[in-house]
């Protein structure tokens, strides 16, 4: 690897990491519109499958939002009376184990997360592996596709009304 390539990879890796951290913070802080603005304007997919290796054309997913469905989800949260997030959960997540690969113009990023949700007297731990497909934009990236595979996706799970 030449010094120039190394430098480019290091820089873009730092930029990708910063983007993931930004996204995580907007989700944790329920900044719904700013989070939605991170998405590309069309042809997107936000997917939370019910099992690893699921076929979403035949199997039900917890979330399988195209761009219009994602907009509905955000509009609903923005009403302030989406009861399952009114009041909003306390959220903080850690993102780690980031692996980046390039696929044409797209950047594919895999990462792990641990998320703590505080709701009433309960602290709930959520964890999983996220795959982002990002497209470079002038001010960073836009999300084209995001898949979140929860470690307990095949088990009974609590309300998942916040942004994961």
């Amino acid at each position: 690897m030449t010094t120039a390539t190394l430098e480019r990879t290091t820089l873009s890796a730092a930029a990708v990491e910063q983007f993931l951290y930004l996204e995580a913070r907007l989700q944790d802080e329920h900044r719904y519109d700013e989070w939605e603005a991170l998405w590309a304007s069309e042809d997107t997919l936000y997917w939370v499958p019910r099992r690893q290796d699921a076929d979403p054309a035949r199997e039900v997913s917890y979330i399988y939002d195209n761009r219009a469905r994602l907009a509905s989800r955000i509009r609903q949260l923005n009403t302030g009376v989406r009861h399952s997030q009114a009041p909003q959960s306390g959220l903080r997540r850690l993102i780690s184990n980031i692996e980046i690969s390039e696929n044409g113009a797209d950047v594919e990023v895999q990462s792990n997360f641990i998320l703590i949700e505080s709701r009433r007297a309960n602290l709930t731990t959520w964890a999983g592996r996220t795959t982002h497909v990002l497209v470079p934009a002038e001010d960073g990236f836009r999300i084209k596709r995001k898949t979140v595979v929860l470690v307990n996706c095949a088990e009974a799970i609590d309300n998942l009304a916040f942004l994961v």
Binding site: V48, R50, R51, A54, A57, R58, E59, V60, S61, Y62, I63, Y64, R69, S72, R73, R75, Q76, T79, G80, V81, R82, H83, S84, A154, E155, A156, I157, D158, N159, L160, A161
Partner: protein, 431 residues
């Protein structure tokens, strides 16, 4: 002299469940919960699985009925068997996963091996058993009674007096209505179940499934965000929609009465999709039932119902309620695919995800309200829950079915009056 331990105070269900009010302890008492598991889930009929979930020999699912873990499995001759999930040797759990495929069942502990029909077919070192040991007596234990209607498999663990048909009563019409949306009369539950932790008593979920009162309030945020999930045209008290108490604890919200009153538009129940976009399905329905009857079916849509005690035909979803403790339940949800309707099924799948389950724009809010209600009834006062909306104003049909307005609590009262009979009868016999 009796010690304190031996005195079990008798719970007076006829006092706790009154015609227009319920005692709050019905949702919180561990003793009542234990009674329910036995009297309702073990001594009564409960839904366990659907035929289409285990299409091939060796396919199985593991389900909980009351406190019991059961395996429903199809054997080589095509029959469905329901066994207790317990090895007859020394009790190990046989199937750990919630579904799968096996050519035989081998216990993880000492490798006793069972055929799909439950026969013990092999065990290590069989010769060490006494002479009177017989493999024929050491197979898997089937449930006492199993029966099906329209592919829905029901079990009764401690035999009661009723046939499944008697238990279902008029509710067979609801199952028929759902199956009648398929051009072949068959449905497929193949999309996998979402499992949703509910922090509420199982009976609150039952009540909410057929509650026509809460939707504008609890689901106002969804109605504001996306009109296509609001299939019902009129949710005012003057709505033509009826709630119905079918007897035996079964009830529904008859959305068809609203859809019919709204004129001859097809597919209101899908959010109003243009029939031209479902050419395969519409043609198959016309071919199967003739244009006039097909048209009626496509106007009226699927039932929105609750079958006592754990099965909800929830429009194009099936929901099953699994009690866990007085304060916790698991709600299972799967979209209903209609055989011969792939174009509709693709949409049904995406609508299910939008509305249902832990992330659904509808059900997550019902779960939240259920939790708030569970927390509320833990308070000792005001002691009684009011359930008298529309009481005494029901229309009673010749067959005993009661009809009332969309926002009336007739559907819940139907559940509770049957509950009271089942829970009180057990004590009146044992006295």
């Amino acid at each position: 002299m009796a010690t304190a331990l031996e005195i079990q105070p008798m719970i007076d269900y006829r006092h706790l469940v009154q015609d227009g009010r319920l005692h709050g302890s019905l949702y919180t008492s561990p003793q009542i919960f234990a009674d329910e598991m036995e009297q309702i889930f073990h001594r009564g009929w409960s839904f366990v699985a659907h035929d289409s979930e285990i299409p091939n020999a060796g396919d199985f699912v593991v389900r909980r009925v009351g406190t019991q873990s059961l395996i429903a499995i199809r054997s080589k001759d095509g029959e469905v068997h329901v066994f207790y999930n317990r090895c007859p040797h020394r009790g190990a759990t046989l199937c750990q996963t919630s579904s799968g495929h096996r050519s035989r069942i081998t216990c993880p502990y000492h490798a006793w091996t069972f055929a799909l029909d439950g026969r013990l077919i092999g065990l290590p070192d069989e010769a060490a058993y006494p002479a009177d040991f017989s493999k024929a007596d050491a197979g898997l234990t089937p449930v006492a009674r199993m029966d099906t209607y329209g592919g829905f498999i029901f079990v009764n663990l401690i035999p009661n007096e009723l046939t499944l048909r008697e238990h279902l009563g008029h509710a067979t019409e609801l199952i028929d209505a759902l199956l009648g949306l398929s051009p072949t009369g068959r449905i497929q539950l193949s999309a996998g179940w979402m499992k949703h932790k509910m922090r509420s008593n199982w009976k609150m979920i039952v009540e909410n499934q057929v509650d026509g009162y809460h939707a504008p309030m609890v689901h106002g945020s969804l109605i504001a965000a996306n009109r296509t999930f609001a299939t019902v045209r009129d949710r005012k008290p003057t709505s033509p929609t009826r709630v119905r108490d079918f007897g035996m604890g079964h009830s529904d919200i008859d959305h068809a009465s609203d859809y019919r009153a709204a004129g001859d538009r097809l597919f209101r129940w899908t959010g109003g999709i243009d029939p031209e976009r479902l050419p395969v399905y519409v043609k198959a329905m016309n071919d199967a039932y003739g244009p006039e009857d097909a048209r009626r079916r496509l106007i009226e849509g699927p039932p929105h119902s609750m079958l006592f005690p754990n099965l909800s035909l929830a429009e194009m979803n099936i929901m099953v309620i699994e009690p866990v403790s007085p304060q916790h339940s698991i709600q299972y949800t799967i979209p209903v695919f209609l055989e011969g309707a792939d174009d509709l099924n693709a949409r049904t799948l995406r609508r299910c995800e939008g509305a249902m389950g832990p992330a659904g724009m509808l059900i997550a809010d019902d779960a939240e309200i259920g939790e708030l209600t569970q927390m509320g009834v833990a308070n000792l006062e005001p002691e009684w829950i009011l359930l008298s909306r529309g009481m005494g104003k029901e229309e009673v049909l010749a067959n005993g079915v009661k009809l009332a307005g969309l926002m009336d609590e007739t559907s819940q009262r139907g559940f509770w009056s049957h509950y009271r009979e089942v829970m009180a009868a057990s004590q009146e016999v044992s006295q």
